[in-house]
Each structure stands twice: as structure tokens, then as C-alpha cells.
């Protein structure tokens, strides 16, 4: 383990009855904002719960901030903040009172009112938690994760209940907190758009194993060189045409609006010209041709390669 690692997991195995949730998961996470990416049921939450000492692995070891999770769970939790997926807080308390109580447990001197303001919840600080909207509850979750002045914050699907604007705000907030307070974050999510901009490093996991891990930019360079995304109204028709074109290979349909492909052509303009000439006899419309260098593109690559 490098000295700077905030989390190190080695060959973690976790079984729930007959289901293997973690399959020799090995992961080394450095300080910063780390994205844990994987589909539902891939083992993200199980991994985070092991780090918190809420469940025990069947095999393997894990360390958080240099402490063993099975022996120093309490000490770890003193330095951790956590936002669970679908969090449950005492519904009849107000956010302000709840934060006061949690702060007393951590024994820190963080001002709850400041935190509520930071997460944009000061106007609702005296409302009952049970009366808050899903987005507000999520903001409260982030506030309570920060009240203990943690060194590391675990966020499990932090934007799962939020609309697009809310997601963007939470992503901004995470970046600001990291920049201003120096707090490290592990963000587990399957919503890639929010992780795209904020994560220094990411790991892709599926079926309880890490498929790929690295710095975001390195992975983009590794997986998306010569990959392009063609936005179209009819990817189903477009993909077979492009597959037959000599300059393109690895053509994949991405949802209902795009096709990705690999090509050695130098620029997007060159590529667009080839695409348009290939479809000149059809009615397919092309809207845009861009480099496929988003996290979603890497995700698709990694997952497809792993299959």
C-alpha cells in the first residue's frame, strides 16, 4: 500500500447465501475523488458496507486510512462520513437538531448551520426530516456525512433521487468540498454523467470484481483514442452500414441516438465526411460527430471487452 492510499482492499470475498457479491475484489484508492462505477448489483454497496464495518467479508482484508476494518472499525468511523443509498434518518427530527446530535457523537465543533448553508438546506433547517423532498434528504445526507470533519467520505449513489439540476449541484458541491476542505470522496454510482467531471480516478466493477482501475484521464487516453461517437436518429440502420465501411471497425450502438466506432482517421471532420458519403443513399440523419471520450464511453468499452 502506498502511504497516500485512503482505502486498500485485497482479495475481498463476500457471499450472501448462494450469491457472491464480492469476488476477490482488490482495490487501491488514493486521496482525491474516486468513482466506483458499476451496474446495479455489481458489489459497490457491499464494498462500502465492508469498509464501514457493517458487514464482514468472508475472506480478504481491507484497510481504511491505514486501519484494519475488522479491528479498528470504530476508529475508522470517527474519520469517515457516509451517505447511504436510500438513507434513513429520524423523520420527526429537524435537520438542524439531527446534525447537532450527530455532531455530538463525533465530538467535533463543526457548526451544523454552516453545513446546512453549504449544502443549500438552511431554509429547511427547521422542517421535519420526514417532510423534506428526496433531493433535500440527499443534501442532508451529505451534510451529516461532513459533520464529523471526516478525512474520507463515502457516497453511495448520492444523486439517485435527484433531477439533472440537483445532480449538477451535488457534483459541484463535492468538487468544492474536496478543493476547500481537502476531504477525499469515494462515490459509488451507476450514473456516469455526474462522475465524468469530478473523479480523479475511477474503478469499474462488475460481479464483485474490478474490471479496470486508474486515473480518469489515463483511462480515457487508453480506451478512447480513435473512438468516435456519431449522433444519429437511426442507430439501428446506421450501424450495419458503418460496419461495412473499410475505415471503421468496432461499431457499437449506444442507445437510440448514437453509434460509436473506431477509426484511424485524424479528425472528426474527415470522419463525418466518410460517414455522410456512406449514408448518402439512405434517409438517415447525422447530427454530430465527436470524439468518444466520456466516462460512459470508457464504461461501454470496459464492460463490452469484459463480456
Amino acid at each position: 500500500m502506498t502511504k497516500a492510499s485512503v482505502v486498500r482492499a485485497s482479495e475481498l470475498i463476500k457471499n450472501f447465501d448462494d450469491v457472491r457479491a464480492l469476488n476477490e475484489l482488490t482495490l487501491d484508492i488514493e486521496p482525491g475523488i474516486f468513482g466506483l462505477i458499476g451496474p446495479n448489483g455489481s458489489g459497490k454497496t457491499t464494498f462500502l458496507r465492508i469498509l464501514l464495518g457493517l458487514i464482514r467479508p468472508n475472506a480478504g482484508t481491507a484497510e481504511v486510512l491505514g486501519m484494519q476494518v475488522d479491528k479498528e472499525s470504530l476508529q475508522i468511523r470517527e474519520k469517515l462520513g457516509v451517505l447511504h443509498e436510500r438513507p434513513t434518518y429520524p423523520t420527526r427530527l429537524t435537520p438542524l437538531r439531527f446534525l447537532h446530535r450527530v455532531r455530538d457523537i463525533y465530538g467535533t465543533d463543526k457548526d451544523p448551520e454552516d453545513l446546512l448553508e453549504l449544502v443549500g438546506l438552511s431554509s429547511a433547517s427547521h422542517r421535519r426530516i420526514g417532510d423534506l423532498s428526496a433531493g433535500m434528504t440527499q443534501r442532508l445526507g451529505i451534510a451529516q456525512a461532513l459533520i464529523g470533519q471526516p478525512e474520507l467520505v463515502l457516497l453511495d449513489e448520492p444523486t439517485s433521487n435527484l433531477d439533472v439540476v440537483g445532480r449538477d449541484e451535488i457534483a459541484q458541491l463535492i468538487m468544492e468540498l474536496h478543493a476547500n476542505l481537502g476531504v477525499s470522496f469515494i462515490v459509488a454510482s451507476h450514473v456516469l454523467s455526474e462522475l465524468d467531471r469530478i473523479c480523479d480516478s475511477v474503478a469499474f466493477i462488475r460481479d464483485g470484481s474490478v474490471l479496470e482501475q486508474g486515473r480518469t484521464l489515463d483511462l480515457i487516453a487508453q480506451y478512447t483514442t480513435n473512438r468516435y461517437r456519431v449522433k444519429t436518429d437511426n442507430p439501428q440502420q446506421l450501424a450495419p452500414i458503418l460496419e461495412k465501411t473499410a475505415q471503421f471497425n468496432n461499431v457499437r450502438i449506444v442507445g437510440r441516438i448514437a453509434v460509436t466506432l473506431s477509426s484511424n482517421l485524424e479528425t472528426t471532420a474527415d470522419l463525418e465526411q466518410v460517414v455522410r458519403s456512406a449514408i448518402s443513399h439512405s434517409e438517415i440523419k447525422i447530427y454530430d460527430v465527436i470524439r468518444a471520450n466520456s466516462l460512459e464511453d470508457i464504461y461501454m468499452e470496459v464492460m463490452t471487452n469484459a463480456t
Binding site: R49, L52, G53, L54, I55, R56, L74, Q75, R77, E78, L80, V82, H84, R86, P87, T88, Y89, P90, R92, L93, R97, F98, R101, V102, D104, I105, Y106, G107, G148
Partner: protein, 268 residues
């Protein structure tokens, strides 16, 4: 140590805010206060005799009425304890299921255990509040009501015995209900299991009339103390009663050990 105590206090306050939010705590405490007074006020009130008495001499009547006031004070205490034991048999498992079963059901347990709270601390805070709110309130109300209505009861041993009868089944039932909650992680299972166990313990001495006092003292100690009083303070019954109470506490200790182990192993 100091930090631990401070943290324990914070956990108690968080638990109080979470599971005893306004007005639940106030309702429970008020109800137990009123019921304690109600049961105690309904006890012995008067004795009548003429002076000079046609049958007994003056000193004999004095002995009679001194015995009478004491006996009736004991009967009042006994009747009130008997009545309140049925109320407690309901409150203890329900409150335990609500504070443990519901928290496990909804995920609040997971939230709390993500803070720097040890599982033992959380368990102790919850159990402590259950016992203080139910048995503590009843005991204090009893004592105040007793001072109000039965001043001639100079039997600290008996008072202690009746107070013990409020605590031993409470500890046993609450621990058993917690164990059910921990094993099932379900509100409904802990609620029905706890209530069934509690009332089962209460009524089993009625169903099996020939039950030994020792067993009665474990299951329904108020009934065992009543037998002790009715049987003219028989030493042998007191012995069985004491052994039963100690056995009940021993079972509770055993349950405590098992429950703590289960809580430690529990995955949330």
C-alpha cells in the same frame, strides 16, 4: 472513558429523539403515572368497629386494626402490582420492538452504526431507555402513590420485592424481544414475538395451576409474590421466589450474552 460517557449520552439523546419523539414518551410516562395512582388509590380505604367492642377487648382491637391497616396496605400494593404487570407486559415488548425491530427494518440502525457508535453502546442506550421509561417510571410512580395512599406500609422488603417484580420480567422480555428483532430484522416479527412471549409468560401460571412457585417467579413474579403473601409469608415460598428471581436474572444474563454476540455478528 470521559469521551465514551459523553458519546453514550449523545447516543441516548439521539435515540430519545428518534424513537421517543414527542409525544410518545410523554404519553407513555403519563399513562404509567396515572395508572399507578389509579390502581393504588383504589385500594383499602376504611375499617369499622364499635367501642367498646362487644367481642374483643381494647388491646385486641388495636392489634387487629394495626394488622388490618398493614395487611390492607399490602393488599393494595399487591393488587396494584398485579394490575400494572399486565400493562407492562404489553408496553415492554411493543416499545422494544419499536426501538429495535423498526430501526432494523427501516435502516436507521445502519445509519447510526455508520457513525462512531459501537454496537454495544447502541444496544445499551436503547435497552437503558426502554427500562428507564417503562420500569423506571412505574417504580417511581409506585413509590409516590404508595407514600400518598398507603403510609402505614412499613415493609421495605415487600416493597422491594414488588419493585423487583416490575424489573425482572421487563429485563427478560425486552432482551428476548431484542434477540427476536436481531435474528429476524423485522418489526412485525419482533412485535408479535415479543408480545406473545410476554403475555404467554403472564398467563401460563393461570393455565398450569400446579406450576411450581420457582417457575411462577420466573414467568410471572407478581403472582409468586402474591402466593407468598397469601401463604402467610411462608419461608419455603420465599426461598422458591428468591431462587426464581435469581434464575430469571440468570436467564436474562444469558440472553444478554447471546444478544450481544448476535448484535456483534449482525450484518446491517
Amino acid at each position: 472513558m470521559r469521551l465514551n460517557l459523553k458519546r453514550f449520552k449523545s447516543i441516548l439523546l439521539l435515540e430519545l429523539d428518534t424513537n421517543y419523539s414527542f409525544p410518545l414518551l410523554e404519553i407513555i410516562v403519563s399513562l404509567l403515572v396515572v395508572l399507578s395512582f389509579y390502581f393504588m388509590a383504589g385500594g383499602a380505604f376504611y375499617a369499622f368497629f364499635g367501642i367498646p367492642h362487644l367481642v374483643q377487648s381494647g388491646p385486641e382491637i388495636i392489634v387487629f386494626f394495626e394488622e388490618w391497616t398493614r395487611t390492607h396496605a399490602i393488599r393494595t400494593l399487591q393488587g396494584a402490582s398485579y394490575d400494572i404487570s399486565f400493562i407492562l407486559a404489553f408496553f415492554i415488548p411493543v416499545l422494544t420492538a419499536l426501538t429495535f425491530g423498526r430501526d432494523m427494518d427501516t435502516g436507521t440502525f445502519r445509519t447510526f452504526l455508520s457513525y462512531p457508535i459501537s454496537r454495544h453502546q447502541l444496544f445499551l442506550a436503547k435497552e437503558f431507555l426502554i427500562l428507564v421509561v417503562i420500569s423506571g417510571t412505574t417504580s417511581i410512580s409506585y413509590f409516590v402513590a404508595l407514600l400518598s395512599f398507603e403510609p402505614n406500609l412499613n415493609s421495605p422488603g415487600l416493597i422491594l420485592l414488588f419493585l423487583v417484580t416490575q424489573w425482572t420480567p421487563a429485563i427478560l422480555v425486552s432482551l428476548a424481544t431484542i434477540l427476536i428483532a436481531v435474528l429476524s430484522k423485522s418489526l412485525s416479527a419482533s412485535l408479535f414475538g415479543g408480545v406473545a412471549l410476554s403475555f404467554g409468560m403472564m398467563i401460563s401460571p393461570f393455565l398450569f395451576r400446579s406450576m411450581d412457585t420457582l417457575l411462577v417467579a420466573i414467568l410471572n413474579p407478581v403472582m409468586a409474590v402474591s402466593t407468598y403473601i397469601f401463604e402467610d409469608y411462608s419461608i419455603s415460598i420465599l426461598q422458591s421466589l428468591s431462587v426464581g428471581i435469581v434464575a430469571s436474572l440468570a436467564i436474562s444474563v444469558l440472553l444478554l450474552i447471546v444478544t450481544l454476540k448476535q448484535i456483534n455478528r449482525m450484518e446491517v
